[in-house]
């Protein structure tokens, strides 16, 4: 099975009909300027410069340990950077808690291991942030939650606990949970790498649909089929640096840097 086949035909058709022709806007939404980060004395991110425009779908790839997770976790301040600037929707990320809260309200995140709250039902997982962060009344928050659970095609699981769902279902709940806060930007950190192969597709389908709706997405993934159909830009990182940045077709067919070529040959080898 090639990776492209993991993405369903309807979803691709839908995307190609409209979404992929979505004109990526001129509106800057994330600006990262000369950003550095260290873990202790370990220089994990080196001089990162990245501008993201509203509506962009950016795929970030690179070998394990290259700093991909750290980079996207800096964008919602799960990790603190030590040098340079990160500006998200005109809010600069500093130690100011108010700014951090403002950014986190705009930015949703989906993790490799779902990180659902196991003691709460699916519905409670989804309604939690609207209720406590946005002070939405409970009934309304639950309506929102049901709306997004329907969008990810598991409304019937609303009253179950995460531990009773399959991995693919859990990840779709995690996506719905983020969407309930109506984020303007979504970050995905290897959302399918903890899933059994037969469940990858259902999660990718949801992500493709999301891209089709014009969501700004930064996605760390090695799903090259997904990158080719959805991304408008692919970024390759190695040892804490952005090595290469290109449109997906150029990136896959004509990689410039030899480290990119080596990486691509390795992941395409199997």
């Amino acid at each position: 099975m090639t990776e492209q086949e993991q993405v369903s035909d309807e979803a691709v058709a839908e995307l190609e009909a409209g979404a992929s022709k979505l004109k990526v806007s001129d509106e800057l939404t994330i600006t990262i300027k000369e950003m550095h980060k260290w873990y202790g004395s370990f220089h994990v991110l080196k001089n990162i410069n990245l501008d993201v425009y509203r509506g962009e779908r950016i795929v970030i790839c690179g070998p394990s340990g290259s700093g991909k997770s750290t980079l996207i976790r800096c964008i919602n301040r799960l990790e603190e950077h030590q040098q340079g600037d990160i500006i998200v929707d005109n809010v600069e990320l500093t130690n100011d808690l108010k700014n951090i809260d403002a950014v986190r309200r705009e930015v949703g995140m989906v993790f490799q291991h779902f990180n659902l709250f196991p003691h709460l039902t699916v519905l409670e997982n989804c309604a939690l942030a609207p209720i406590w962060v946005k002070q939405t009344p409970r009934e309304e928050a639950e309506e929102i939650a049901m709306k997004y659970l329907t969008r990810v095609k598991i409304p019937e699981q609303a009253l179950k606990f995460p531990g009773q769902l399959s991995g693919g279902q859990q990840q779709r709940v995690a996506i719905a949970r983020s969407l309930c806060m109506s984020p303007r930007i979504m970050l995905f950190d290897e959302p399918t790498s903890a899933l059994d192969p037969e469940m990858i597709k259902e999660v990718l389908d949801v992500m493709i649909e999301l891209a089709g709706e014009g969501m700004t997405m930064l996605c760390v993934t090695h799903e090259m089929g997904f990158a080719k159909t959805v991304a408008n830009r692919v970024i390759f990182m190695d040892e804490g640096e952005i090595i290469e940045e290109n449109d997906p077709h150029e990136f896959f067919d004509n990689p410039q840097h030899e480290r990119t070529q080596l990486f691509l040959s390795q992941i395409l080898a199997h």
């Binding site: 919602n76 986190r104 309200r105 990180n115 196991p118 939690l128 942030a129 406590w132 606990f161 983020s178």
Partner: protein
């Protein structure tokens, strides 16, 4: 024995399990008689039970004397009835009020009874989430401590009763319940403080926990009964029971803090991260996400600490307070009843066992109720 019946692939129906693997017979075969060793152990156990249970039954029930005025009286009654003297429960009966209320004035004991039922009523909505009118019940539970203190100590229209009159089960319950209810929040706060990003707070919490854990409870109780006077401004009197309550609570909270810390450490980092990424504040994420999970896995340890605290309350004998055990020992000094220590100790043991067993069962119930994963 093999079934001859065969089925074409894909058509095999669900069959019931062989009859000798289910039901009581199946259970006995599978658990008690499933190997030579197990058979030997089972036979030995049955024999031991045969040796112990009949004499125990005669002592506790058949040969027991329920009504008598002294030990000699007990013996005489047993002799008259033509059986050896079993337990002389009459002794307990005569001293029962002392065991329950201590030296609480007889005319005011109704207050203790009411307080006991108020305590039960306050615990019910807290412990069981299916309690009817739970919301109102929880408000009542918040209010209950004030009512209880008022009822037990008096003032504001009630006859004041000194705390040195408290004794027996009343004393055990006061110490146990106060210790448990107050030490849990303090323990949680200490556990969180111990993990804090603020070094000053962290050091204070660690210092406190390690100091308390490094000193025996008895020492703390002696400190409570004597040393505190040196630290307090001269002339202040500081109620002995209150000092004991503070010491027992602090002692138990240090242990709870460590139990809760274990629970906190078992929660994957991803939970905090997901909560942070959603924009929940520190206290929200603690209250809604981390603590419910951490406390759930700490339940066995927490209840274990509670049971320990409850039983350790007997140590107050040493500083001159009379809990049931102290009461019993004091009663033995009575020449009329001399030599009946077994009855006293068995009685006190049963009291503690019932309370502690109830706690243990509640903890199991809670664990089962909170289990959501598969």
């Amino acid at each position: 024995m093999s079934t001859e019946q065969t089925y074409a692939p894909g058509t095999h129906p669900d069959l019931p399990p062989p009859s000798n693997t289910i039901g009581f017979v199946g259970w006995v075969r599978g658990n008690l008689l499933n190997s030579t060793t197990n058979i030997v152990i089972t036979v030995l156990t049955v024999y031991l039970l045969y040796l112990i249970i009949p004499p125990l039954m005669s002592w506790v029930f058949l040969d027991a004397v329920l009504q008598a005025d002294s030990r000699d009286d007990c013996r005489a009654i047993a002799k008259e009835a033509g059986h050896p003297m079993g337990a002389c429960w009459a002794f307990i009966g005569k001293r029962f009020e002392l065991f329950v209320y201590g030296f609480y004035p007889a005319a005011e004991r109704w207050r203790v009874n009411i307080a006991f039922f108020i305590m039960l009523a306050a615990f019910y909505p807290v412990l069981f989430d299916h309690a009817p009118y739970r919301k109102q019940g929880l408000w009542f539970a918040l209010l209950a401590p004030v009512i209880l203190v008022w009822l037990l100590i008096g003032g504001f229209g009630l006859e004041p009763v000194d705390t040195d009159k408290f004794g027996g089960f009343l004393l055990t319950l006061v110490i146990g319940v106060t210790g448990i209810v107050v030490s849990l929040p303090i323990g949680i706060a200490l556990a969180l403080g111990r993990q804090s990003d603020m070094p000053a707070l962290r050091i204070i919490c660690i210092g406190f926990i390690e100091f308390i854990r490094g000193v025996p409870l008895i020492t703390l109780l002696f400190v409570a009964s004597t040393m505190l006077n040196y630290f307090l401004p001269p002339g202040t009197t500081f109620d002995l029971l209150l000092r004991v309550l503070i010491m027992v609570t602090l002692f138990s909270s240090a242990y709870l803090a460590e139990v809760v810390r274990g629970g906190l450490q078992a929660i994957p980092k991803g939970q905090t991260e997901a909560a942070d990424a959603m924009g929940l504040k520190y206290w929200q994420s603690m209250r809604l996400i981390i603590l419910p999970q951490a406390l759930k896995i700490s339940i066995p340890g927490i209840v274990n600490s509670f049971i320990g605290l409850y039983k350790d309350s007997t140590l107050v004998i040493i500083i001159g307070l009379f809990d049931p055990l102290g009461m019993g020992r004091a009663s033995l000094a009575d020449t009329k009843w001399q030599g009946l220590s077994t009855e006293i100790y068995v009685f006190v043991a049963i009291f503690f066992f019932i309370s502690c067993f109830a706690m243990a069962r509640y903890s199991l119930y809670l664990e089962k109720k909170l289990h959501t994963g598969h």
